[in-house]
């Protein structure tokens, strides 16, 4: 027996105990918040009864084909197919224009194209509405030049397609950009050297290396189109998701089998998703075009030699930039305008105000009987309006909790997966975490809503949809939905950990927990924080799930905005609801932007970069100190305080 073996055995015993506890908790959560609700949804389709009360398992399916329900599916498919084309055209364009071709002002253009990272979801859709709907600023402006133009041009399918095209290029901006940056420039030079013209090089050398990324993006875009929610709801287009939400809120008194039909639509979406993801998985397994070069050369931007093509490319780049930036700029400008200017959607240079952000004002108006009435605090800023700030606060807390929870679950699980690599149990854990990827968001949320909207033994007899419990349900739904993305990203980060680091830590006496906390976690932390930020930003302004969970206790930012804009000005209430929406969008853009900057800008720096920055700062302080005549000690003191 060697010294310390007792301690080792105790540690081993504790580790085993924690392992059993973790395993039981994982199974409990997986069954309760993934399998059972979705299984309940599936079975509800076949549990319909006829008028005599006899089971009629295929009643819902018969009803589906007899009515207009296939049209919702066809509409969604139409949107998804066209969206794949438009998003890829715009997405590839913005990446080539900023990363491959030498376009003047590419840095500014890139910032514009990336605004969708901080300006998305319901904020983006309502922003587009603000500009383009029948009373929109741009519609009014265009009508001056084209009086015969249809004022209602921005509605229905075309408006949804237009909005979603520009809203869905975030993934291209992130992932296709990385892929193009990973191209070995020597391959481009080799092709040029062999006589290939620039366009041929782009088509035959560059594009094939981007194909795997493009394929993944295409599948994801298709699924996004199929599962579109906020744009079709707000702009008016009959696709699957809005119909599911409508049916979920309907009763049998209004129509036949509303819940079962909603379930059937969800399952149809799930089948589409599963098929598409299987294709994607099969394609990804076939492998990627990896660079075989050991000395990869950095991509050099290509000058467009033909002057006409060069001018056209510049025009195209800046037109896209204007389309991306106009809603953002307008939202910022109008968030500083008074409610009259916003309602009339005309810029009033004397109407600048901060009322949409801070403070409140009374609103006086004359009734139809000629009486003057005052509505106290009918004009209020984001931070003074309890309903708005309450929605933002709730969204902030729920999104932060869910994003953090998803990260914690995934980090612990991936650590387990890597520790038990090549073992069946690690593959099972991974499959469980990827399970929600197969299911559309709406199916998960709908299933949660239906399954937990009663006293359920599994959650100790509680009704999780009742009162404040719904917030827990929302957090769980948010978490479940974000698990697959978090898993893929965090797993990629874990792959970057040199296995010898773990061996080294163990050799130096660190326990598995200390190795995880002090060696592995600090390495993957930038990626984990990035996943947290991306998930948080997406959840903060998400609309689909909030709409499915409609409840007075779970009214998120998106729902508050929608309802307040709907009742804007009614009976002198919420006079500046649109202005407040603009202000809150600006606030959320700032918060999202700040988080992305902290995570990608500051958090992504490695220790070497951080130390170099600290060293530069120290030198700068010393220099300033010398100029100001401070002693060396005082300058050092200032430096210590800054550190």
């Amino acid at each position: 027996m060697y010294a310390g073996s007792g301690r080792h055995q105790t540690e081993y015993g504790m580790g085993k105990l924690w392992g059993i506890f973790g395993g039981v908790l994982f199974i409990y959560l997986f069954l309760g918040f993934m399998v059972m609700p979705c299984f309940n949804t599936l079975t509800s389709i076949f549990s319909a009864k006829d008028a005599a009360g006899n089971p009629d398992p295929f009643a819902v399916i018969r009803f589906f084909f007899a009515g207009n329900m296939p049209s919702f599916v066809l509409n969604s498919l139409k949107l998804a197919v066209l969206l794949v084309i438009t998003v890829n055209v715009v997405g590839i364009s913005i990446v080539l224009l900023t990363e491959y071709f030498d376009i003047k002002g590419a840095k500014i253009l890139r910032l514009g194209y990336m605004t969708t990272l901080i300006y998305s979801g319901v904020a983006l859709v309502t922003g587009y509405q603000f500009l383009y709907d029948k009373d929109g600023i741009l519609t009014n402006w265009l009508l001056q030049f084209f009086p015969n133009m249809d004022r209602q041009w921005f509605s229905g399918f075309s408006s949804v397609l237009f909005t979603m095209t520009f809203a869905c290029t975030s993934n291209h901006a992130l992932f296709l950009r990385n892929a193009i940056r990973g191209i070995d420039y020597n391959t481009v030079e080799a092709a040029r050297n062999m006589g290939a013209k620039p366009f041929k090089v782009l088509l035959k050398v560059v594009m094939p290396t981007l194909l795997p990324t493009l394929f993944s993006l295409t599948v994801m875009t298709f699924i996004t189109g199929l599962c579109a929610m906020s744009a079709p709801t707000l702009l008016g287009y009959n696709s699957i998701n809005p119909e599911i939400v409508r049916l979920a809120g309907s009763t049998t008194a209004d129509e036949a089998f509303p819940q079962a039909r909603a379930a059937l639509l969800s399952i149809i979406l799930a089948i589409f998703t599963i098929v598409l993801l299987s294709i994607l998985n099969h394609y990804e397994r076939k492998g990627h075009y990896l660079s075989v070069s050991k000395t990869k050369a950095k991509l050099v931007k290509q000058k467009i030699q033909n002057p006409v093509a060069n001018v056209l490319a510049h025009i195209y780049a800046y037109v896209l930039f204007i389309i991306y930036m106009t809603p953002v700029v307008m939202i910022v400008i109008f968030s500083l305008q008074n409610w009259q200017a916003i309602r009339s959607k005309t810029l009033d240079f004397s109407g600048w105000t901060l009322i949409n952000y801070f403070g409140s004002q009374d609103y006086s108006y004359t009734t139809s009987r000629g009486k003057t009435k005052i509505r106290p605090d009918a004009i209020s800023g984001v931070f003074a309006n309890e309903k708005t700030i309450g929605g933002i606060r709730l969204s902030f807390i729920l999104s932060a909790l869910a994003a953090a929870l998803a990260c914690v679950i995934v980090v612990v699980a991936v650590n387990y997966i890597f520790k038990h690599k090549n073992k069946k149990r690690s593959r099972v854990v991974e499959a469980c975490l990827l399970f929600p990827w197969l299911l559309p968001t709406i199916l998960i949320c709908y299933s949660f809503r239906i399954f937990f909207n009663k006293e359920v033994w599994y959650v100790f007899g509680n009704n999780m949809y009742y009162a404040e419990n719904v917030r827990f349900l929302i957090v769980m739904a948010y978490t479940v939905v974000k698990l697959p993305f978090a898993l893929r990203m965090v797993k990629a980060a874990f792959y970057a950990i040199d296995e010898e680091l773990e061996d080294a830590a163990r050799n130096l006496g660190a326990s598995p927990l200390v190795t995880f906390l002090k060696v592995k976690l600090p390495i993957v932390l930038p990626s984990v924080l990035a996943v947290f930020a991306l998930n948080f930003n997406a959840l903060f302004t998400e609309y689909d799930m909030s709409a499915t969970f409609q409840s007075s206790y779970g009214t998120s930012y998106a729902m508050v905005m929608q309802s307040m804009c709907n009742e804007e000005g009614r009976d002198g209430m919420n006079m500046n609801a649109s202005g407040r929406r603009c202000a809150s969008t600006v606030f959320i853009m700032i918060v999202s932007g700040l988080i992305l900057y902290l995570v990608y800008g500051v958090g992504a720096r490695d220790l070497g970069e951080r130390l170099a920055i600290r060293e530069r700062r120290r030198k700068r302080l010393q220099k300033i100190g010398r100029r100001l005549g401070l002693s060396h000690a005082a300058a050092e003191d200032a430096e210590v305080r800054i550190d």
Binding site: Y2, G4, D503, A504, L508, K518, A612
Partner: protein, 337 residues
């Protein structure tokens, strides 16, 4: 110091090590040498505790440590990639093991500074991130981290393989110097025969999970115990029938001769060279020449086979392709198996 007795390691059905027996002496620089997949790293990982053998024992200083956990073995490791923690400074990397042992702060500081001085790391470098150091400096950090906990032995798994050729030679010398200074028993894994020959007190040559030979560099090079060792270490000529029969060697055996053991001289017209001692003379023609600076390697056609030979570059006797040469081979230099 370290004794491996009848070690067998299996990965599933595959037996990676077959009855390995090694005894490493105190203060020795002992190298495990062999091609990829021969079992040298597996043996090292069995010693360090990362792999549990199916049978056999690992003893250290007379104590059975076969199933002792890694951290309790008191063995320092320098990894192939150095495995320096990228999120820690050089100082924190070196202090990591001491902090785990819950040593007092001032004691940690003293030990870190002492070891840093010994491996030639400055105070300035201690404050840096490991990514800010060169390959050579990183290697010194890895050694300092392995030595600071005062292990009984230190194991190095191909620590020079990631470096460029010039730095590899430079660090090889530093490594040897440090090992002598610290006087620590060192087990070194490499596939590079030159590295093994220059660094080691003794070498174990591995092949397919077996040890083919254990000996000093001179023994394994000049008196290779097996055909594999003769082939693996250094460049060698296999003698064909023509030479074998001319030298009256046993035709049933395989015969080898090292390149530098073949004497090459220019054949002068009308003159016949008389071989000294038992050496046998062969006539040959230079086929090609590889110029290495310090020496020149010739490919020669002689006695119906191709032979390689090296000659010191004296700047005068340099033979060109087509030159007729005399080759002298001493039967005592022939290794037969």
């Amino acid at each position: 110091m370290i004794r491996l007795s009848d070690i067998v390691v299996k990965f599933g059905d595959f037996e990676a090590l077959h009855n390995i027996n090694v005894h490493v002496q105190e203060g020795e620089f002992f190298t495990f040498l062999g091609p990829s997949g021969c079992g040298k790293t597996t043996t090292l990982r069995t010693i360090t505790g990362f792999i549990d053998p199916v049978s056999g024992t690992v003893e250290m200083q007379g104590r059975d440590i076969t199933h002792v956990p890694i951290e309790k073995r008191n063995i320092g490791i320098v990894f192939q990639s150095y495995a320096l923690f990228p999120t820690m400074t050089v100082h924190d990397n070196i202090a990591f093991g001491l902090k785990i042992k819950k040593m007092k702060k001032d004691e940690i500081e003293k030990k870190v500074n002492d070891i840093a001085r010994k491996v030639d790391l400055s105070d300035e470098q201690l404050k840096k991130a490991v990514s800010q150091l060169s390959g050579g400096q990183q290697q010194r950090v890895a050694i300092a981290r392995a030595l600071v906990t005062e292990p009984a032995i230190i194991c190095m798994d191909e620590p020079l393989s990631n470096l460029d050729a010039k730095l590899r030679v430079q660090l090889r010398n530093e490594l040897k110097k440090m090992q002598k200074e610290f006087g620590i028993t060192t087990i070194y894994v490499t596939h590079d025969q030159e590295e093994a020959l220059t660094l080691s007190d003794r070498i174990a040559v591995f092949n397919k999970g077996y040890i083919e030979q254990i000996g000093t560099p001179n023994e394994v090079y000049n008196h290779s115990a097996t055909e594999f060792v003769a082939n693996f270490i250094g460049d060698i000529n296999k003698l064909q029938n023509g030479i074998v029969s001319s030298m009256h060697l046993d035709p049933e055996k395989a015969h080898y001769i090292r390149l530098e053991r073949i004497g090459v001289s220019l054949a002068k017209d009308g003159q016949t060279e008389t071989p000294s001692g038992n050496s046998v003379l062969f006539s040959g023609v230079i086929e090609s020449q590889e110029y290495y600076g310090l020496f020149i390697k010739y490919t020669i056609q002689a006695a119906g086979q191709t032979l390689k030979a090296v000659e010191k570059n004296d700047g005068i006797n340099i033979y060109e392709p087509g030159d007729k040469v005399n080759l002298l081979i001493d039967p005592a230099d022939v290794m037969s198996y």
